[in-house]
Symmetry: C2
Subunit: 143 residues, 2 copies
């Protein structure tokens, strides 16, 4: 049997739900004002993109460290365009990696992103079933 | 063009990343100790399940309220089993809905869940590409 992950959403009031996961952490979710919420938390569909950003970011930082690259910062920006029709899945996703460090090799960055995208990241592997995923990266010299 | 959602993961240190989304909210993500983290945040793949739970929970509560059901509580529990091999996508997902209220009609609950699952919930529509999704529900009388 594969690894089990657990999560939960519990109604707090209005459209506000507390999200919880098996690691013990919690996060607030809420609908937008136009959908009867108060905007007091993440929209649930945003969390798919946050998870995607974190998933591939962890892969990339691990691989770059294994490749002994002197990385001082990493930001992964994700932009998802939803379909017009329900269930409004993401149909286009752009992922931009901004790697900061000293003499970071472009080849290492490109390879790390490729390994995450094609092999390791479970979120990319899931979301690419509905979305065309476009990737770009930038390397910045600095602390 | 469809609705745009934005998200970001920013390295804080170690394997810790701050997740952010366009609604303005933030959440911490971290790897497990065995993967070089400190467990000080959500595992990114957990956020897919939290988003799924929240997405379908918001659909169901909206629909039950439209159907004038007297719902006092809603909890959506999700359990995902990942594949053994990379990229370890979810291959089985169980969703359990626990609806609390007064004289809540089973037919209304079943229909609300069906509408979310088959029509409205973008997270279900995404995750079902890799996972077989099993659904169950319980109706509890009470406040």
């Amino acid at each position: 049997m594969g690894e089990i992950k657990e999560a939960k959403a519990t109604l707090i009031g209005g459209m506000k739900f507390e999200g919880w996961a098996g690691s013990g952490h919690t996060v607030m979710m809420d609908a937008e004002e136009v959908h009867g919420g108060e905007g007091a938390g993440f929209r649930p569909m945003e969390l798919l993109l946050v998870g995607l950003a974190g998933c591939t970011a962890m892969d990339v930082i691990s691989i770059l460290r294994k490749k002994r690259q002197d990385v001082t910062g990493l930001e992964v920006r994700v932009r998802g365009e939803r379909a017009d029709e329900h269930p409004k899945v993401y149909k286009n996703i752009e992922i931009e990696y901004i790697v900061t460090g000293h003499d970071v090799e472009e080849k290492a960055v490109a390879r790390a992103i490729e390994l995450s995208t094609d092999k390791y990241c479970g979120a990319t592997a899931t979301l690419r079933h509905t979305a065309e995923i476009k990737i770009s990266y930038k390397i910045v010299d600095g602390d």
